[in-house]
Amino acid sequence: MEVESMYRELILDHYRNPHNRGLREPFDAQVHHVNPLCGDEVTLRVALKDAGGEPAVADVSYDALGCSISQASTSVMTEALIGKSVREAMGISGAFLELMQSRGAADPDEDLLGDAVAFEGVSKYPARIKCALLGWMAWKDATAQALGSAGVAEGKQT
């Protein structure tokens, strides 16, 4: 089936066994995001640390309910971003957004995105793009809040 190009094995694995799940302390900011179109919800916390003079992602913890795409994407996101500098993480997040908006025409950078390239197929099913972005948008929002109003708003505003 064509839809198997979206439901790659890696995505189904992360859906069945989500990584970094649960709400942990300490944290610097918590957000609650919802996808009103399909009922996906996520409560997400970020904990930042100082790494060589710039902020870095110490932890991303979450509690989520939703479809396989939103759950798996959130799980993959935490794997991709934990330990990175916020600057790097914003770059990865921007690249993922571009991939989602590519309508199947992208050539994703696997070095940058890691396992998140598995979501390439979502770009051909526009109704699922918001699902795939839910966790990533929640992370951006929480990180911006954690950094305060003078946060690192690099890259495109989405």
Binding site: V3, C38, G39, E41, G66, S68
Partner: protein, 437 residues
């Protein structure tokens, strides 16, 4: 696709309603000929969201534009007369469809707008003349809704309370998806000013006893507003028998065009109600210092009339009455019973709401253990089956039933029993794909 069974369906008085000629009906709907994913034929089980349109409706709307197009109620010319005639004939046609007088039918943009019209009329009553007093609500007054409502018949009442200081109260639902009327005596009191209730749930198909609720409400002097978006298209509705004071419904859910809906209201109420949307068409005399308004229904129809859409809706009424609404209801009841049975036979599938067709219409919403509704919907889409997946604009109802979201199939005149079988088979395939079966 095969047509419905060749035996007729027994009606409420034991009479046999001839079955619909589903194959013939399907031939009237151009969109049913198209292919979807992977070239598969379209199996459309989302008429609860919007229905498809037969040639006859499309032709009526197009004919208005190609032959009679003009601004109704205006113009000193022939086309203006024809447009006015088309619009007012449509009003009379729609009125006849629900057993009402033409002057009691207000054309709106949609059922949602119709419900907002009543809610805003009630807050506007605070600053209107003394004849509007019966519509006023304020601190100490209560607005009674239900947990089963579509957001269109919930949020406007929440907002009315916020604007006026009135208190929102509500009937709950039972685990079986019926309205919990056990607390009715405590909920309908002398403080109740308006009761808003669905005439048929868009999630569970539940048909609450609107007449019974209306009797209790009227005994306390409260108004009753019924949401008929899912009832008027699917079974015979007669406003004289309904018991409510207002009924809202949409054209696009009953084979008609998008962009037009109806508010039916008792004449004496509409006469006393202040307007919601104001502007041209609904005025009597306009001066810079102030304006007066026309009697109903024109008072509630500001702007150039949506005459083309009204013509389409009238054609939809003709189409449905030619099929016979008892037959439409019987066809859907058979499909619903089939769907309820087929889904009940699947392990790990829970249907929300009543599990028989008693006082239950054709919306079948269900959950699948271990598979999110959006994923169920995606798999069904892959098979050409169109359903809806989320909370279907009834989020509190889902919470009350203990689920986050559901997958919903809805049936209409062009659906077949083969399509119901395809739905059940598709759900089984989704269970296998996500390795829960």
């Amino acid at each position: 696709m095969t047509s419905a069974t060749t035996t007729g369906h027994p009606g409420p008085a034991g009479e046999i309603t001839p079955p619909l000629d589903v194959a013939g009906i399907r031939a009237d709907f151009p969109i049913l000929g198209r292919a979807v994913r992977g070239g598969r034929p379209l199996i459309y089980l989302d008429s609860g969201a919007t229905s498809h349109k037969p040639r006859q409706v499309l032709d009526a709307e197009r004919d208005f534009y190609t032959i009679h197009n003009s601004a109704a109620h205006r113009g000193a010319h022939l086309l203006g007369e024809e447009a006015t005639d088309a619009y007012e004939s449509a009003r009379a046609r729609v009125a006849a469809f629900i057993g009402a007088a033409p002057g009691e039918v207000v054309f709106t943009k949609s059922a949602t707008e119709a419900l907002n019209l009543v809610a805003y009329a009630m807050s506007n009553a605070a600053t209107a003349g003394p004849e509007a007093a019966r519509f006023r609500v304020g601190p100490g007054d209560e607005v009674l809704v239900t947990e089963m409502e579509h957001h269109a018949n919930l949020v406007p009442w929440q907002q009315l309370c916020q604007r006026t200081g009135a208190t929102l109260r509500w009937f709950g639902v039972t685990p079986e998806g019926r309205l919990d009327l056990s607390g009715a005596d405590a909920l309908i009191t002398d403080r109740t000013r308006v009761v808003a209730v669905t005439h048929q749930s868009n999630v569970t198909g539940t048909i609450p006893p609107v007449g019974q609720i209306a009797a209790l409400a009227h005994a306390r002097g409260a108004l009753v507003v019924a949401d008929g978006a899912q009832s008027v298209p699917h079974r015979p509705v007669d406003v004289a028998a309904l018991g409510a004071d207002f009924l809202a419904f949409s054209a696009h859910k009953m084979l008609g065009p998008s962009g037009i809906g109806v508010l039916w209201g008792r004449r004496e109420l509409l006469e006393a109600m202040p307007p919601f949307v104001t502007g041209g068409s609904m005025i009597e005399v306009v001066r810079m210092e102030g304006s007066t308004f026309l009697p109903p229904p024109e008072r509630f129809e500001a702007g150039v009339p949506a005459a083309a859409q009204a013509a389409g809706l009238a054609a939809a009424c003709d189409y449905l009455d030619a099929l016979g609404m008892p037959g439409v209801a019987a066809h859907e009841e058979a499909l619903t019973a089939h769907a309820l049975g087929a889904l009940a036979a699947l392990d790990g599938v829970r249907v929300l709401g009543p599990l028989t067709t008693r006082d239950r219409g054709g919306a079948v919403s269900f959950t699948v253990d271990g598979v999110h509704p959006h994923d169920v919907g995606q798999l069904l889409d892959e098979l050409g089956i169109a359903v809806r997946a989320n909370h279907h604009c009834a989020w509190p109802l889902h919470r009350a039933l203990g689920v986050q979201a559901s997958t919903r199939a809805t049936f209409y005149v062009y659906n077949t029993h083969d399509e119901v079988d395809a739905l059940a088979d598709g759900v089984r395939q989704a269970q296998r794909f996500f390795a829960v079966a």
